[in-house]
């Protein structure tokens, strides 16, 4: 089993420019420390029709006016939510096509940030293929990989549960199986910036193999970093 950088075609060059946008890094940093409710806020705003911060603050009183819904006010958390809201509105303000590209890049950057809390940052790579002897290379590179000598991990990142399809499940499971045939361990996973329930609904109708594929959702993103949630 060996890893290889994906070919840098026109699409990849454009996408690399998006990945390098400072807004992606800023919002990924904020998301990496977000509570589950803050993650829902960010997803809603970046998918939303309106970009008026006041509307979103009112829609999430638990984050912005906790006393009004009988919760304890923690000023540091409120300030974090404010920053995340502002960054999410910046993404939404970029227009429909750009925000769509940004959302995918954000999930990938967030995944890399969280993994960097568990493994050496230099082991984390982007847009990589996994090659096996005698096996044709996959069409799509993996969004994020962890490449350590003793073990490896590959992650496919999705903005929504709707993005989960049989093709990606097959690709992940094939890679894991080929690695096992070479007596190597490859951890394969989907990172879905969506609710666990929606991911379960999506997966329930798919017959592609997935028993060895881990799925991280909004409720469990923290586990990428090795934490319990």
């Amino acid at each position: 089993m060996r890893f290889q950088a994906a070919a840098l075609d026109g699409r990849a060059i454009v996408y690399a420019g998006i990945q390098a946008d400072p807004l992606i890094r800023r919002i990924a940093d904020l998301l990496a420390d977000a509570t589950p409710a803050e993650l829902v806020l960010a997803r809603a705003v970046m998918n939303g029709q309106r970009t008026d911060a006041e509307v979103w603050r009112a829609m999430f009183p638990a984050l912005f006016d906790p006393a009004a819904v009988e919760l304890v006010d923690v000023p540091e958390r409120r300030e974090h939510a404010q920053k995340l809201l502002a960054a999410s509105i910046e993404v939404a303000d970029r227009g429909e096509q750009t925000r769509s590209q940004f959302r995918g890049a954000i999930v990938e950057e967030l995944t890399a940030r969280l993994l960097a809390r568990r493994v050496p940052p230099e082991a984390i790579r982007r847009e990589r293929r996994v090659l096996f002897d005698g096996v044709p290379a996959e069409i799509h590179p993996y969004d994020v990989t962890v490449e350590l000598g003793a073990r490896a991990e590959v992650y496919d990142c999705k903005w929504g549960a709707r993005g989960i399809g049989a093709d990606v499940l097959h690709q992940l499971d094939d890679a894991r199986r080929h690695a096992a045939e070479e007596e190597q361990k490859l951890f394969v996973a989907l990172v879905v910036f969506d609710s666990r329930r929606s991911a379960e609904v999506r997966l329930a109708r798919l017959t592609a193999p997935r028993s060895e594929t881990r799925v991280f959702t909004l409720e469990s993103l923290g586990r990428l970093a090795g934490t319990r949630k």
């Binding site: 809603a44 509307v55 009112a58 829609m59 819904v69 929504g160 609710s195 609904v201 999506r202």
Partner: protein, 111 residues
């Protein structure tokens, strides 16, 4: 809520608020169904998330939600009412129930 937005909001029972949310959610599902390839997924989402929303009511339908929580749900209903694109509707079939859940879950359960 300390802004102009919540000025007219009042406390209401969780049953009334969730009923309104479910009506709006069904309309959102109708819009999402326009993507025929996703008809099954849309209907599965609506069934599962609607059941989860109804579960918020079962224990105590008369439980009063604070005015800010009622207003939060009404703003979320307003937001999905603005959606015209069926693809975006499908995205919101997942997000809307989460927002309602955050607003309508009792503080102790919400942690």
């Amino acid at each position: 809520m300390d802004s102009e937005f919540a000025a007219g909001a009042v406390s209401e029972s969780v049953a009334l608020v969730v009923d309104r949310a479910l009506d709006a959610y069904r309309r959102l599902g109708d819009l999402g169904e326009q993507i025929t390839d996703e008809w099954q997924y849309v209907n599965d989402l609506v069934a599962v998330h609607s059941a989860d929303l109804r579960a918020l009511v079962v224990a105590d339908p008369e439980r009063l939600l604070p005015a800010a929580a009622v207003w939060a749900v009404d703003l979320a209903i307003e937001e999905i009412g603005l959606i015209e694109d069926p693809h975006r509707a499908i995205d919101w079939l997942s997000t809307f129930p989460q927002i309602v859940g955050i607003a309508a879950t009792p503080p102790t359960a919400a942690g």
